[in-house]
Amino acid sequence: MKENDHRLVRLHLHDGEVATVKVLFVSEPEQDVIVDLISSTNIDRYEKSDVQPKFQFRFEDIAWVESLPEAK
């Protein structure tokens, strides 16, 4: 996960959701990743907020990570 820091990735989660995120902070000690959530196949899961929060995904909830191409 560390290699995806500050990159755009798709998180494929164990429950079937696929979330496109920008990785902001990867924490090995906490076993999680803090992200800007860009899109999701299950958007209703996320609460609405004027102050757009960052989201925490725990490693254990992530099935696999798909790197997306960066700008050239």
Partner: protein, 347 residues
């Protein structure tokens, strides 16, 4: 639609929000099948005998609509109902004038200001489908949401997109949707995201949690003034920050730990006066906020109840996590990406 006798007069059949058939003509009526273009605008209608009943033409915004036969359904431009008297298309939330190529009222979600400042095409609240009706359609006239040609209709926010889009020309944000260009140069629609009303985020809730932490620290050990806090905070700093230092070749985590320990000592001094429990909340919050710096953003858990579990600094380099003191193992955790420092404060 019922007729005066209470029987079926017209029935519109949809699948996935796409109009597929019209039953028209009352009890002795028949079914007409819809043949729409890539945006859902109806171009031909055929009968159950597989013969063409009518064809319709119009210009990009749906204007100058002309059909070759008596209309069996008022659904035309992108499948929206056209009012026979006014000529306006009903987009549920607001009416659109095809002749003007504009909605008759602004986007209700833009009333408080430009929601998508990074997209100039959104600044005109009256514009239809980002002024590009050949590619996009608007499903309901609301919330800066449009659909692509594959009928994916979702909405997202513009959070971080300015920077994100600048650095990712293969990605395009179009009326609340993200498209990513594939290897063939085609934009593929990515999911969705919502924005909405605010909550308290880190405000009073954060005060309670951190203040509660200090209360727990100060009272838990029944020690002399401030010692409990020092034992808890500085003791953790002594143990955990060393871990951070050990993982940081540059040793900058030591400086960070020292800084945090200094803040902890200040907090201890204040809490040493047991009557100052209330102010201890401010001290604790100040310590964490100094660590994060201004402009920190709350972090929500993506799973479970979606609780706020901490904050991340504006530069994304520092993260604070915490749990409430009513949890099994309450803690405050401060992480610094630059230094590798990780201060875990248990109480």
């Amino acid at each position: 639609m019922l007729n005066a006798a209470g029987g079926w007069n017209r029935v519109e059949t949809f699948a996935g929000e796409r109009h597929i058939a019209t039953y028209s003509g009352g009890p002795a009526g028949t079914t007409y099948f819809i043949h729409a273009d890539w945006l859902g605008t109806e171009r031909a209608r055929t009968t159950v005998a597989a013969t063409t009943y009518e064809t319709c033409t119009s210009l990009p915004f749906g204007d100058n609509l002309q059909c070759s036969n008596a209309d069996v359904s008022p659904l035309h431009f992108t499948g929206k109902e056209r009012d026979a008297e006014s000529g306006l298309d009903n987009f549920r939330v607001r009416y659109d004038s095809s002749n003007f190529g504009r909605f008759l009222s602004p986007d209700p979600n833009n009333a408080g200001g430009f929601e998508h400042q990074d997209d100039p095409q959104s600044w005109n609240g009256y514009s239809y489908a980002r002024n590009n009706p050949l590619i996009y359609r608007d499903p309901n006239g609301e919330s800066y949401t449009i659909c692509d040609t594959t009928n994916h209709c979702q909405s997202i926010t513009d959070v971080g997109f300015g920077d994100y889009l600048q650095r990712n020309p293969n990605v395009e944000l179009i009326n609340n949707q993200i498209y990513i260009k594939d290897d063939n140069g085609n934009f593929q629609l990515e999911g969705s995201y919502k924005a909405g009303p605010s909550d308290d985020s880190i405000g009073p809730e954060g005060n309670d949690i951190l203040g509660g932490a200090l209360i727990g620290l100060a009272s838990g050990g029944a020690v002399a003034a401030g010692e409990g806090l020092i034992d808890g905070l500085a003791g953790s700093a002594g143990r955990e920050a060393v871990k951070g230092a050990a993982t940081s070749a540059a040793g900058t985590a030591v400086d960070e730990a020292a800084e945090i320990s200094t803040l902890a000592a200040k907090a201890a001094t204040t809490v040493g006066n047991q009557s100052a429990v209330a102010s201890s909340r401010d001290v604790a919050l100040k310590a964490a906020q100094e660590f994060l710096g201004p402009g920190a953003t709350p972090i929500r858990a993506a799973r479970g109840a979606g609780d706020i579990i901490g904050e991340i600094s504006a530069d994304g380099q520092r993260v604070m996590r915490y749990t409430s003191i009513d949890k099994a193992s309450p803690y405050i955790n401060l992480e610094n990406k630059l230094t590798g420092g990780n201060l875990h404060i248990r109480f």
